[in-house]
């Protein structure tokens, strides 16, 4: 196994680069990060459309979520790869097709997580903010979302983790991410499929594990802050109103 890594680390890490296009683990990470960065804000927008009382926003968002959830990812990938060029009259690279698909697919799933998070915040929070004169937008931005996102961290992370793994589907439209690289190596070696794919599995596992550990750390930090374990002041001093009783 180490021998395979020693002989092929370059291909696993960056694919054909610098002779050809960037691939391998580097491409997987680019796909994951880019997918997350675009899908997450989009999912928040989608979530607000879903809870909006305006039908113009609500109905299309609901249809999108239902359709995407009802279709297999592989089918969506093929669709955007073969159908989009027909629609736009221009060839679309595998990378673009994959990113678009991942973003739409993940945004639809994430939006349901976000929507549940927003709706789980007690009505009193909204009432308090609104009665201070804050607009709906400011109430959502400053009061509801910060609390909702914090509560959603565990579900968000599992969704982010699945996004990392879903980048492997790029293989079917020849996006040369790490699964593609591994498969190429396997084809060259022929006799070591178990080892090659074990390396692939480990790589994905480590990637996802790092993300979940980071999330745990970030969550713990926020919790500590809110419990006051990190706040510099706020110790037990005397309370003039209580003492006057």
């Amino acid at each position: 196994m180490f021998e395979i890594i020693a002989n092929n680390w370059q291909q696993l890490l960056v694919g054909q680069y610098p002779q050809g296009a960037l691939g391998g683990l580097a491409l997987t990470m680019i796909l994951s990060v880019l997918g997350l960065i675009i899908a997450f804000p989009l999912s928040v927008v989608l979530a607000f459309c879903r809870i909006s009382p305006y039908k113009v926003l609500n109905i299309p968002a609901t249809i999108l979520v239902y359709v995407v959830r009802g279709l297999p990812l592989v089918m969506l990938v093929f669709w955007s790869y073969f159908l989009v060029p027909v629609l736009v009259g221009q060839s679309v690279s595998g990378f673009t097709a994959l990113i678009c698909t991942l973003v739409i697919y993940e945004a639809a799933y994430l939006s349901e997580v976000v929507r549940a998070g927003i709706q789980s915040i007690p009505e009193g929070q909204v009432e308090a903010a609104r009665s201070l004169g804050m607009s709906y937008r400011k109430t959502m931005l400053k009061v509801v979302l910060p609390q909702a996102l914090y509560n959603m961290v565990p579900s968000l992370i599992s969704q982010f983790v699945s996004l990392i793994k879903e980048t492997s589907i790029g293989y079917v439209i020849s996006v040369q991410e790490i699964t593609f690289s591994a498969n190429q190596i396997n084809t060259q070696l022929l006799t070591k499929p178990f080892e090659v794919f074990a390396i692939l599995a480990l790589t994905y596992y480590i990637l996802c594990f790092c993300l979940t550990q980071f999330a745990k750390w970030a969550e713990r930090r926020t919790t500590q802050k809110r419990l006051g374990l990190r706040s510099p002041k706020g110790g037990e001093l005397n309370d003039p109103v209580l003492e006057s009783q």
């Binding site: 308090a128 903010a129 609104r130 006051g228 002041k233």
Partner: protein, 242 residues
Amino acid sequence: MIQFSKVNKWYGEYQALVEVTAAVAQGEVVVVCGPSGSGKSTLIRTVNRLEEIQKGSIYLNGQDIHAKGLDLNAFRTQVGFVFQQFNLFPHLSVVENICLAPLTVRQQSKAEARSKAMALLERVGLAHKAEAYPQQLSGGQQQRVAIARALAMDPPVMLFDEPTSALDPEMVGEVLAVMKELAREGMTMVCVTHEMNFAREVADRIWFMDKGAILEEAKPAVFFSAPEHPRAQAFISDLRNH
């Protein structure tokens, strides 16, 4: 200051407010009392339009609060509201809770909002808790912060919706003390409360409500010794028996 004129509200078939006509003068402290489900909270929630009404009108400072083109957010800054459940923002520290609306609605500078917040915290006796988070405070302290938060917008009117009902008995006093202080300073206040001693001591007038209507308006001395309406008499005699 506040005028209700023939206010009616329905929840479906159920009529929550029935032909409410009443007025609160500037600097007056009105305590609304009555049995649970009598529409007290609903009534004061109509004043900043947390509840909409179906018939009648409400005026604040001569302004029709249901007028077309009314800037609802700007209007709401004129009405301070204190909730039974405090509703502090748990993700913000005490001082951030108080500064949020001045910063986002009034676009005050950070320094300005903060110094105002600290002055208010001083007033409710919690300046030393400025950096604490709501979960670290007792219920009574949370409610005092909530009062400070409402005061940060300098509202000419304060509404209290059962501010002590969610508190342990030993914490009721500290919240009432802050409210008394406010009343003494001449704040116009409408309080829904079951604290009859507070009503007796601080209120200029008592409104007694039952089944969505104001049945009696009286000075506390009169209300507690010789209420006119039979239902108010029953309410008072129930109080005595406890």
